[in-house]
Symmetry: C2
Subunit: 345 residues, 2 copies
């Protein structure tokens, strides 16, 4: 099996020769070749330049040989396309004029991906050609709640106090924002599939900050709109939520084929709780990759054991950290091979 | 029943006339009378002045009539008593000379609570007299892993990358630190009971950042040492972990009487997963208290339903936020009463 076949089989819970592997945020600052690119060009320009974004997406695959290649982009691209002003500084994204009222929601429009985000689609088409069917091409988008969190907070947050105050105090405003985001993101995801994505991962990174009852109201219905469009477009839909240990049973009702989980819950416990209908992706703590290749291999082999031989995609539980040494990234990507070697020895 | 009887009965899973209630960090900046004190005295001085700390502890009880009064202090008090240099700025605690090696661990000594932390014990004695048995007196301490996180990171952290790199790369150093912290905290907890605490809450706030396998190695055994000392001293032991939704079954083996859980998991789901041996405490999202009294009452009534009539202490899922309006704090503390009124109407 090649990487693409292996990854797509695992998404469909079909047998594989070994567990496929990739890493969230695998195109990024831990790579010297990525840092060299970023010395010449800023982050948003990189996202919007198909040739450069294609190169950034391919860098980790070329170096380590992952089974899947995720398109280089940012979850806030559709938010900018809706009319928000987004910039990136050392602390992360900053959004001008945060959304706090129905008038603020009315300011945002629903973009046409072909017109307002053509660069991502061009990058996908170029990647699909470059990968030659050897490595699976994964598209992605941020989920409505997570994008709403950035829009309402005006950037990242620790307590998400502003969006939660809106959720509990003025739920109609938040629902209006989420509905607009859901349509935007669903259109964008479908366009990514049309441009060649063989699977699409929906990142609802911050939905795990919600109480289960609030997740049911403000995250789940909008995840479902996007995931249904992805599956309707004929490819595997992957749902990632950071901090999902308390809401797995809710997450399982969103309509995903693959549940991508963080490291704070064991994969065998996840499978026992969500049942046999899902492939699982994850879930080594990215901080393990700050230690030694031996510790990385140990943790990855643990995830491979807990994930089982069928319907598991080895990944991190969150994005790879910029300070990760290359030899630790290498040990992680090679873990499915070293596990096979050890078992057959 | 008075508040003390009600709280202690709930800890022991005995019948109560209504669910008892208090709030983590209930003595704090959301109270104007607390802010007025803090204009005259800095945070650490307040912690170390029994008369003032007693007053700060009583302020919320006087205003709202909670069933339990937690002693005003800080989890880093024992860390300072071990020889670390601790200060507090706007961003939270800062610790000089972070612990990163066995030599650093050797620098720390195990303090005698009577000699090095007499002020907390004096505050507890004064509070026990002032409360006259009407309101339960709760002591607390930080758990070894959480205190180690501050010592190793040199303050708060977002990713806990440094302590995790130590855990995975040099586990012997971290275990040496945790063993020293466990003895310190166990001694301190036992001294609090001797000074009048009727229950002690162990805050392992950051242990929920660990993968389950790492929680088993670096959090659980050290929680157990402290919890066993608390129960051995004859009072209820409460264990709080933030982000516990993925590791509840592990947390249940630490030896606590009461599991205090964050808002990202539903109380009825917690009970189904940990079984009938525990009282539960929690778990309304503190961010709900930034909205309206009606929304607070709705969320608190939901927690009361999910928590059940026996063996539940209503609380927040994390500390109350400084921006909380007084009328929302009031609605929360009154929720067990309004629930009873509604049910009997």
């Amino acid at each position: 099996m090649n990487g693409a076949e292996r990854f797509l089989a695992a998404c469909a819970q079909k047998p594989v020769d070994r567990t496929p592997v990739w890493m969230m945020r695998q195109a990024g600052r831990y790579l010297p070749e990525y840092r060299a690119m970023r010395e010449r060009v800023d982050f948003l320009t990189l996202c919007k330049s198909p040739e450069l974004a294609c190169e950034a997406s391919l860098q980790p695959v070329r170096r380590f040989g992952m089974d899947a290649c995720i398109v280089f982009s940012d979850i806030l691209i559709p938010v900018e396309a809706m009319g928000a002003t987004v910039s990136f500084n050392d602390k992360g994204p900053a959004l001008e004029d945060p959304v706090r009222s129905m008038t603020d929601v009315d300011r945002l429009h629903i973009p046409d991906p072909q017109v307002h985000m053509p660069f991502t689609l061009q990058t996908l088409r170029a990647l699909r050609a470059a990968l030659q069917g050897e490595t699976a091409l994964v598209g992605f988008c941020g989920a409505p709640f997570t994008l709403a969190a950035y829009l309402v907070e005006g950037g990242g947050s620790k307590s998400f106090a502003t969006i939660k105050a809106l959720a509990y105090g003025q739920p109609a405003v938040l629902h209006a924002l989420l509905a607009k985001l859901a349509q935007t993101v669903a259109d964008y995801a479908a366009a990514q599939v049309a441009a060649g994505a063989q699977a699409v991962q929906l990142f609802d990174t911050w939905a795990g900050e919600l109480a289960p009852e609030a997740y049911e109201r403000f995250a789940l219905p909008y995840q479902k709109i996007v995931l249904d469009r992805i599956r309707g477009a004929g490819v595997a839909a992957i749902l990632y939520v950071n901090g999902c240990g308390g809401i797995l049973e809710h997450m399982a009702r969103a309509g995903a084929d693959v549940l991508s989980v963080d490291w704070r819950v064991a994969l065998d416990a996840v499978r026992a709780r969500v049942g046999p209908s899902f492939a699982l992706q994850g879930n080594v703590d990215p901080a393990v990759l700050l230690s030694t290749p031996e510790a990385v291999q140990h943790a990855a082999h643990g995830a491979l054991r807990e994930g089982g031989a069928v319907g598991h995609i080895l990944n991190l539980g969150h994005g790879i950290l910029p300070a990760t040494p290359l030899e630790c990234a290498k040990a992680f990507v090679e873990a499915p091979l070293t596990a096979v070697e050890r078992n057959s020895a």
